[in-house]
Amino acid sequence: MKIHRPRMAPSAVVWLLLAGAYFFLPLYATLDFSLKKNAIGAPCCTLHNYGWVIHNGDFWHTIKISFILALETIVISLLLFVPTIYWVHLKVPKLRPVLAFMALVPFVVPPIVMVVGLLKTFKGTPHWFYAEPWGFLATAYVILAFPYTFFSLDAGFRAIDVHTLTEASQSLGAKWTTTLFKVILPNIRTAALGAAFLTLAVVMGEFTIANLAAFHTFPIFLQYVNESQGFPAGALTLLSFMITWGAMLSLLLVGRKRGARSAVIAGAR
């Protein structure tokens, strides 16, 4: 029997094309811009600007800092929030709205207010914390990424029967740690990956806090190039875009490789 697939409505095609243009036209314009040489009458096209970025030491230095910061933020966030949200879902569900409210605070408080508050709060802390991005900035980014981490993980925990899975695991003799790592975590892997992606994106693009706290991260470098050199800035933007997407893809692949089965199951729910 021939299966007739429903055809896409013409209006849907139009909207899809419009949405596609909205996302891809700026990328195309940036690409076009990045292939021009900073000279009148120069022939199109040249990879000169990409060469400039790749051979720039500051580019590699700042992108390394931002990536390490992103990974640190992801690790701290997951270590902090997975057990917390698990416990809240399991034992004190009444606290969930309180956590959700707290998670909205970083959205409501402007970064400039937050950074002033954080700088004041952490003033007097040891040098290794206050003056290093791995200390102060990572802490600030954990707060900044809290809404993304919380709502992703919360959705993951709501999609599984936390109580029954925990009790089933315990009745079979498992301790809390075994239950968390062998039963709960594999079943919220997709949510944890989502939280990690969003955190990565937040950290890779965060400018205000890093700038005001005088840390030299990738967005600061990007802004500097953008102000000082037009055409290489286009190349840098596209390269950073690709690197960030590449990093997200790697996270996805690593997560999929280990959690392929749970991803399938989550999809089948």
Binding site: I160, D161, T164, L165, E167, A168, S169, Q170, S171, L172, G173, A174, K175, T178, K182, V183, P186, N187, G259, R261, S262, V264, I265, A266, A268, R269
Partner: protein, 364 residues
């Protein structure tokens, strides 16, 4: 000596008393069903035994040893839950193996036991499937195998069949009983389905309002309910309020009709009683037909419900009778009938002065 003992078990949630002191004594290898309507405390009792909750007062003992303060992962209780509880990230085989891994059993031992248990529950072919690839009935079979894998001291089943369709439910309950008898495992089973409880249990404890109303064998519960609630809850029952008019002759009066009932002999005149008659014990004839001994009630047929070999007739005065479908066709809706009440085999319960007939709907 009893194997599992619940002594004066209480559980209070704020001002609500879920358990008001229950006592259960169960021998090794026996199957007890806790039966009752929603909110009667049966699942609370099971969770206390499993260790997921702590009693407000009372003790739980296994082989005389108090389990107080022992966490659930140390109790060696296999549990099957009402909700599908298989770990979604593991195959059926891995689910069954989980408890054995935690106990540090070696691989060959684990493989053999998991294979044996999957065979036992009839899923030897489905070991590599993930829970989402199994039907509800299959998932509960795997959950049963998983609970049995750890060789639990007590098997706890919390309404494991309630999410399944009727046919699978009957099939699986028989398998649960077969496996329980085969392994001789002490089992505590929670259900609100009286048919299920009566079909597979050695003992049934009917619970209501946090107390055990009556505990006994399925046959005792059906034929000799000791409280109006049990009479109502186990099977369908005609419950007729009456009072003794002649205790010496065993006569009672119900709605102006005098009935002779053996169980009324020796009772005090004027005593309020509840006459309990199973629907199958009433013999119906068309009005005007001959009656055997005048021990009758007259009524009019209100509805007929076809139940296969038998048809259930509901009549005025709240009477319910089951009769063969062939005979029922002669008594259509609206027909006047005479219901013959047998003098023997009828149970009477004493009603207090202010006690009415409990109404929990039709206890089918």
């Amino acid at each position: 000596m009893s194997y599992l003992q619940l002594e004066n078990l209480h559980r209070q949630f704020g001002s609500f008393q879920a358990l008001k002191g229950i006592d259960i004594s169960l021998g090794e290898g026996e199957f007890l069903s806790l039966l009752g309507p929603s909110g009667c405390g049966k699942t609370t009792a099971l969770r206390l035994v499993a260790g997921f909750d702590r009693p407000s007062a009372g003790r739980i003992l296994i082989e005389g040893k108090d389990l107080q303060g022992m966490p659930p992962n140390k109790r060696d209780m296999g549990m099957v839950f009402q909700a599908y509880s298989l770990f979604p990230n593991m195959t059926a085989r891995q689910n069954v193996e989980f408890g054995l891994k935690i106990r540090g059993r070696d691989k060959s031992d684990r493989t053999k036991r998991v294979t044996d248990l999957l065979e036992l529950v009839g899923l030897g072919h489905a070991g590599d499937r993930f829970p989402h690839q199994l039907s509800g009935g299959m998932q509960q079979r795997v959950a049963l195998a998983r609970a049995l894998a750890i060789e639990p001291r007590v098997l706890l089943l919390d309404e494991p069949l309630s999410a399944l369709d009727a046919k699978v439910r009957v099939q699986l309950r028989e398998e649960i009983r077969r496996i329980q008898l085969e392994l001789g495992i002490t089992t505590l089973y929670v259900t609100h389905d009286q048919e299920e409880a009566l079909a597979i249990s050695d003992h049934v404890a009917v619970m209501y309002g946090g107390v055990i109303e009556q505990m006994g064998t399925p046959s005792e519960m059906y034929t000799a309910p000791k409280t109006p609630f049990v009479a109502e809850f186990i099977g369908t029952m005609n419950r007729l309020q009456a009072h003794i008019v002649d205790g010496a002759a065993g006569e009672v009066e119900h709605a102006g009709n005098r009935l002779r009932i053996d169980a009324a002999r020796g009772r005090t005149n004027g005593e309020r009683v509840l006459i309990l008659i199973r629907p199958e014990a009433l013999d119906l004839q068309a009005a005007g037909g001959a009656t055997a001994n005048g021990n009758t009630l007259t009524a009019e047929v209100l509805t007929q419900t076809f139940l296969g070999p038998v048809t259930r007739l509901k009549m005025t005065g709240g009477l319910i009778a089951d009769m063969s479908t062939a005979r029922a066709s002669a008594l259509p809706v609206g027909a006047s009938v005479v219901a013959q009440v047998p003098a023997d085999g009828i149970q009477l319960l004493t009603l207090g002065d202010d006690e009415g007939v409990p109404d929990i709907g039709e206890g089918t």
